[in-house]
């Protein structure tokens, strides 16, 4: 098919797969009067017949493309991360409700998911007799278990989908970044400055509107290299981590090979940044913790 042909050129009307593939993979420089040309070429009997064929082909092509895109492994990670967050958030909310309720029956009642698990296990010396409360506790424990299972799934899957990201960051953080960006390809296309503040959108937009300082870090705050750095230098650490993560995402998306040197480079850079504080802490305090640029 050359670039002046319609999607139906050289396509057998009785071959739905070929029709769908032509819609998905074909291209043309300019549109032409395809309905008339298709009838002329004998592909369709008349305009109506042609439009029936277009509908069949575009629907099949779009369905196939949607399925393919949605089943891609990074999409699975995105769903798993969001499901995990929903499960733990809900478990925590219900655990609060449970603690409120249980507290009215048993003055010794504890709080949180840990207490819910304890109740669900149903230790015999438990003063709590109300079955409805115990049933709620079981629900909370189940949700918390589900969140744990999802976390394990993410820890298992992320290294297969994004080996470098998973190596450089914790697999769950890597999956979270993919989820926030909307997919691995989207993350690979983001500049490191954007990756640095993913998850801090509220603060970022407040800054862009002009009434807040720029956020130093988003979700990458949970990276050990950022959290483990003195607050004075966290901006620098976040920038270094985001830079390496941006490279890792690109390698993962475009080549998929593991590059262990990334990890070593980041470790070295973080060491330099953290050493700064040990040497001249008075100095750093004096300039109000401004970033090093």
């Amino acid at each position: 098919m050359n670039t002046t042909d319609g999607w139906f050129a050289d396509i057998d009307r009785d071959d739905p797969d070929a029709m769908a593939t032509a819609v998905r993979e074909g291209s043309a420089d300019e549109p032409r009067d395809w309905p008339a040309l298709a009838v002329e070429a004998g592909f369709a009997d008349d305009e109506d017949d042609y439009y029936d064929a277009v509908r069949e082909a575009t629907t099949a092509a779009t369905r196939a493309a949607v399925t393919e895109r949605e089943r891609a492994d990074d999409r699975q990670l995105v769903h798993a991360v969001r499901a995990m967050d929903d499960c733990s958030r809900t478990a925590n909310e219900l655990a609060e409700r449970l603690a409120e309720w249980a507290g009215t029956i048993d003055p010794e009642a504890g709080t949180g998911v840990a207490y819910a698990r304890e109740l669900a296990r149903g230790e015999p010396d438990d003063a709590l007799e109300e079955p409805a409360v115990r049933s709620l506790a079981e629900r909370v424990a189940d949700l918390a278990d589900e969140a744990d299972d999802l976390r394990e799934f993410i820890q298992r899957q992320t290294p297969a989908v994004a080996p470098n990201l998973a190596a450089l960051a914790d697999p769950v953080l890597a999956a979270r970044l993919i989820s926030l960006a909307g997919g691995l390809e989207d993350l690979a296309k983001k500049p490191s400055g954007t990756i640095q503040v993913l998850g801090a959108e509220d603060a970022l937009f407040a800054h862009l509107r002009g009434h807040a300082p720029s956020p130093k870090h988003g979700i990458i705050y949970t990276h050990d290299a950022v959290r483990g750095t003195h607050p004075e230098n966290r901006g620098s650490a976040a920038r270094a981590v985001a830079g390496k993560l941006a490279i890792a995402a690109r390698v993962d998306h475009y080549s998929g090979e593991l590059k262990p040197e990334l990890e070593a480079e980041l470790a070295e850079r973080i060491e330099t940044i953290q050493a700064r504080n040990a040497g001249d802490s008075d100095d750093a305090a004096a300039n109000g913790g401004a970033d090093d640029e």
């Binding site: 043309a28 009067d33 949607v66 895109r69 949605e70």
Partner: protein, 219 residues
């Protein structure tokens, strides 16, 4: 019969779009299978201007020049909310959407509409669907939330008939969240003038914050 020229003619709704009463309120409606849980009155279903920029443009009585039965190209079809209404009153309707998740819902909307053609393509690269979408379509409806909305309209001008219409909803925040919408709209208008003559513009504020509706024809 001579027609009085002073009296402003209220822009007419396209054939196939009518006002019907739902729960006591008068609303725009088209005939077709419901798509997003909208109220129905017999075979008519309400067209919610708060969820559809084109619906808002019609509600604000912008002169779209659309009469019904047109061949249409819809850019940024999303889940099919608006494009399903377009397919109800227009002729063959090509619906371009870039994201997979909404395209899944678009397929559902297309199910009961034999002349609605879903395409999972990027409106910024018309070559990838010019082998399917025919030339000289009567109307292009554009509602893409991406930077460079004027560019998208210019790139897709190749599909539009010389006397066709571009119905464009510009989202200021997609261009630049930090700038005044009015300044963004001025830039979009200027860029759009490279290939289009702008016939009418109207802020869609009543239904959509920071959006501008534009009716234009190819230059």
């Amino acid at each position: 019969m001579p027609r009085p020229t002073e009296v402003p003619t209220m822009s007419e709704l396209p054939a196939g779009v009518e006002r019907h009463t739902f729960d006591g309120t008068d609303r725009l409606a088209t005939r077709g299978e419901p798509v997003y849980g909208e109220p129905t009155d017999g075979e008519w279903r309400a067209w919610n201007p708060n969820r559809s920029k084109l619906g808002a443009m019609l509600e604000l009585e912008m002169d779209t020049g659309v009469t019904g039965g047109e061949t249409a190209l819809y850019l940024g079809a999303a889940s099919g909310t608006t494009v399903s209404h377009v397919a109800d009153f227009a002729g063959p309707t090509y619906a371009v959407e870039f994201a997979a998740r909404p395209a899944r819902d678009l397929l559902d909307a297309a199910e009961s509409r034999p002349r609605l053609f879903p395409l999972l393509k990027d409106a910024r690269t018309p070559e990838t669907y010019a082998h399917v979408v025919e030339s000289d379509v009567d109307v292009i409806v554009q509602d893409v939330a991406t930077r460079g909305q004027a560019r998208v309209a210019l790139e897709n001008r190749r599909f539009l008939a010389d006397d066709g219409r571009l119905l464009l909803a510009v989202k200021a925040r997609s261009e630049d969240v930090t700038r005044e919408p009015a300044a963004v709209f001025a830039d979009v208008r200027e860029e759009l003038s490279e290939g289009y003559e702008i016939l009418e513009t109207e802020r869609l504020e009543a239904y959509h914050a920071d959006h501008l509706g534009i009716v234009a024809r190819p230059r």
